[in-house]
């Protein structure tokens, strides 16, 4: 039995569970009691695998980054989730969940989104299946991720602004949960990360686990062994990291490196480095690490990256970090942006700003020349072009 799987109440060690109002209980319980049998069903697996292959474009390549490896004097492989249909790993999960929703006879889909990648991935699978789609997005994120808002609308989704709190991912999630409470019969809530009440963290991690499943056999093809020395991924809620870590969690010789957004700096008060300045508590129905005051009020996070701008972290990651299994690295806006520009010029790949945080870890961690390091290239940076340009012109910094 793995140390990193949930127990029968949905806890990873002391983290996880389902801390939800009774109003949400029937919705969550319906999903909890059925998700495992649905996911294990042969017909489900057939349809899921075939869509991953023919629609998403899996397997995504594992690419040996020659110039980057030479520069850092080590061996760097990039798991190209940016090449998934819609431009990020998010679609692995939405394909899985739309198939679950169909089997639960749900006619309406809701989702929250930060950077808009999960919103686009949800709108995409809803279009694919002909199901109504409503995406909640913080008002602030709607502004800074305009291209993704347009994509969602073009795909037929309704984008509803979340106007409360910090007007970002946290608030979009609150609004989506409220929608679910008000529409328990016909609606499935596709959560985009390994957050929320049990069974979401486990279900989403399992849908994303295809990433490390592929890394294993692909690495074996490249170098003759399945295990790298380290896997690096960025973490907001942590879905791409969960997928990249999943099949390595019990392999003690593989370092798991989780890159959090430090924003303007861990001590600046403008940060999303949850594992450093957060403490144990409850957010969005899950016991985990989160940024909060002494009175238990959730603190509004900050990061240049909308996808990492979240005051919590998935309970699996809280457990991995708390138990010492994973290392957390905090990356500032400036470090991430520098890495984003650098990788673009070195490898011809413009990474999402979220993903750029993972590349910046190479400046922080110790490694040997003989090491094999896999970086999960979770998304492409097209959506971030305006921010990259503003940063390059020193305009972004001026406004923050």
């Amino acid at each position: 039995m793995s140390n990193y799987e949930i127990d029968n109440r949905g806890f990873y060690g002391k983290f996880g569970g389902a801390y939800i109002p009774e109003l949400l209980y029937p919705c969550v319980e319906e999903l909890r009691s059925q998700y495992e049998s649905i996911m294990q069903d042969e017909g489900f697996q057939e349809e899921f695998q075939s869509l991953l292959k023919d629609y998403v474009g899996r397997p995504t390549p594992l690419y040996f980054a020659k110039r980057l490896s030479k520069y850092y004097n080590t061996n760097i492989y990039l798991k190209r989730e940016d090449l998934c249909h819609t431009g990020a790993h998010k679609v692995n999960n939405t394909i899985g969940q739309i198939l679950v929703a169909q089997r639960l006879n749900k006619k309406r889909i809701i989702a929250e989104t930060g950077a808009g990648q999960h919103g686009v991935a949800t709108a995409t699978v809803c279009a694919l299946m002909g199901i109504e789609c409503i995406v909640y997005m913080g008002e602030k994120d709607i502004e800074r991720q305009a291209p993704n808002v347009k994509r969602m609308k073009m795909l037929g989704a309704e984008v509803r602004p979340a106007m409360s709190g910090s007007k970002t991912l946290k608030d979009a999630t609150n609004e989506a949960i409220r929608d679910w409470i008000n529409n328990p019969h016909d609606t499935h809530y596709i959560i985009g990360s390994v957050v929320g009440p049990h069974p979401y963290p486990d279900m989403v991690a399992k849908f994303q686990s295809v990433i490390s499943e592929e890394i294993k056999w692909q690495l074996k093809e490249h170098i003759g062994k399945e295990n790298p020395d380290a896997v690096i991924a960025c973490v907001g809620g942590g879905s791409n990291a969960a997928g990249a870590f999943y099949h390595y969690m019990d392999e003690a010789d593989v370092r798991l490196i989780a890159c959090e957004a430090a924003g303007l700096g861990v001590e600046s008060g403008e940060t999303a480095a949850t594992s450093v300045i957060g403490s144990e508590g409850i957010i969005h129905g899950s016991r985990t690490l989160l940024m909060q005051t002494d009175d238990g009020q959730i603190v509004e996070p900050y990061s240049i990256s909308a996808g990492l701008d979240y005051p919590g972290i998935g309970p699996l990651h809280a457990h991995l970090i708390d138990s010492g299994r994973a290392e957390a690295v905090s990356i500032t806006d400036a470090e991430a942006m520098k890495a984003g520009f650098f990788v673009s010029k070195m490898e011809g790949i413009i990474p999402a700003i979220e993903t750029a945080h993972a590349f910046a870890a190479l400046e922080h961690i110790k490694y040997k020349a003989s090491d094999v390091i896999v970086i999960n290239l979770s998304g492409r940076g097209d959506k971030d072009l305006a921010t990259y340009v503003a940063w390059d012109n020193n305009e972004y910094q001026h406004n923050h």
């Binding site: 009774e22 109003l23 609150n174 409850i282 969005h284 909060q292």
Partner: protein, 258 residues
């Protein structure tokens, strides 16, 4: 026996429970609101602990919560305010908030402050039943503190019975499957649910809340349970009213007498 249990022993029907968000409209209105609600003939007061992310609540309570937090409301101050009000009134008081607030304050310290301030019960909608039973049941009993869990139209019978077993004081019957503050008139489905609850012969009294904003709603709730809980409508009245005392008396009067 605490004040909630005494209340329900003395009065079986027409219980009026009013919720307000502490720190709203003004930071220091808590004591006055409690005293005036008592004077106006309310039976039970539910003091909302404002929270940054109130998942079960609709727009009105969300908004009042963020105003209260901006006003500077925090738990130490709230306990002082309640304690001060308690010197002047014997009305049963419950605190309603989210589990994370209790966790961060420290559950033992929180419960001690409740006893010290004269709080009679708690409502924590996101506290799981099993966690309460395993971690807190004994401490609550020792402190003489009640706990009310929520039941909704979709809660299954065996779960309702479990909730009744664990609750102490009253059961919070959510009238509808929706966040607080809606304007529902009772449908046949809801009436079936009220009847089903009545038929279960639970040990706890039942109060119906969510979506009640008028005498009509109050009367309907009372005819199917021991009474009603009103929150959002009262908060809107406080927002629109000029004078706290007269607003409260007018509001309570409008609910009881139309």
């Amino acid at each position: 026996m605490n004040r909630i249990q005494r209340l329900f022993q003395e009065k079986k029907e027409g219980i009026l429970n009013i919720y307000f968000t502490a720190g709203h409209p003004g930071l220091n209105d808590t004591e006055d609101i409690i005293i005036e609600l008592d004077k106006a003939g309310v039976d039970l007061v539910e003091v909302g602990m404002p929270y940054s992310d109130p998942l079960a609540d609709g727009e009105t309570i969300q908004k009042s919560s963020s105003i209260a937090l901006k006003n500077g409301m925090h738990l130490d101050l709230l306990f002082e305010q309640i304690k001060s009000a308690r010197q002047k009134t014997d009305i049963p008081m419950v605190m309603m908030g989210y589990y994370n607030q209790v966790l961060q304050y420290g559950p033992k310290k929180f419960i001690n402050r409740c006893s010290d301030a004269g709080v009679d019960g708690l409502i924590l909608p996101d506290l799981p039943l099993f966690e309460f039973e395993e971690k807190y049941k004994d401490i609550f009993e020792a402190a003489g503190l009640g706990i009310s869990f929520l039941v909704t139209p979709k809660t299954e019978t065996h779960r309702i019975q479990k909730i009744d077993e664990v609750s102490k004081g009253f059961i919070y019957m959510v009238s509808t499957n929706a966040t607080t503050g809606g304007e529902a008139s009772f449908s046949n489905e809801q009436l079936d649910y009220f009847q089903r609850m009545k038929g279960l012969e639970l040990q706890n009294p039942r109060l119906i809340g969510f979506g009640i904003s008028s005498k009509k709603g109050y009367d309907a709730a009372c005819s199917h349970s021991n009474g009603a809980i009103i929150g959002s409508a009262f908060i809107r009245a406080l927002e629109n009213g000029q004078n706290l005392s007269s607003t409260i008396h007018q509001f309570v009067n409008s609910i009881k007498n139309g």
